[in-house]
Amino acid sequence: QQQVKQSPQSLIVQKGGISIINCAYENTAFDYFPWYQQFPGKGPALLIAIRPDVSEKKEGRFTISFNKSAKQFSLHIMDSQPGDSATYFCAAGGNTDKLIFGTGTRLQVFP
């Protein structure tokens, strides 16, 4: 019940395309859903996050879509750029200190 399932494991997108990464969770106590971006040799960095009181949040080219009834959320990267090539992790948290991370999606954006 503590798992967060993430797909796909890897994603190849052409420059200018849309990258979509999906996550699903089981624990209905989760009420905070961040996405982290990680470059090789670096720690994860917060990209964007959503609370379940809204169904969508947009920051620049990055959008989170949230479906509470389906217990799913996704990250959309519009106009994907080679500099977006990284590993992306979804995570979930609640009234506790810890974050539960998905297994990651390696995104490669080709020019």
Partner: protein
């Protein structure tokens, strides 16, 4: 304005040895977290400190793992009798406040531990 720093960046040790991994959080951050990231996986929670005390150590895999934060700033993760399965990147994160996961956690670059 420095971020979270971790030392060493890489540590190679032999099976059965003792290792210490250090984390310097962002100045003023009261909460500190340790995560472990195995190859191809997401970070896995180990322990959370609020100030000097371990508020949640439910993620520590066994009693070979121990962490301290004696003055409420720097933290050390200690692993006794290392095993090959302990090989991973150990990440430290800090946040201004703790207790709730939506307080943004800032991660360090990690220490890559290899147990031969």
């Amino acid at each position: 304005g420095a971020g979270v720093s971790q030392t060493p960046s890489n540590k190679v040790t032999e099976k059965g040895k003792y290792v210490e991994l250090r984390c310097d959080p962002i100045s003023g951050h009261t909460a500190l977290y340790w995560y472990r990231q195995s190859l191809g996986q997401g970070p896995e929670f180990l322990i959370y400190f609020q100030g000097t005390g371990a508020a949640d150590d439910s993620g520590l895999p066994n009693d070979r793992f121990f962490a301290v934060r004696p003055e409420g700033s720097v933290s050390t993760l200690k692993i006794q009798r290392t095993e090959r399965g302990d090989s991973a990147v150990y990440l430290c994160a800090s946040s201004l406040r703790g207790g709730l996961s939506y307080n943004e956690q800032f991660f360090g670059p990690g220490t890559r531990l290899t147990v031969l």
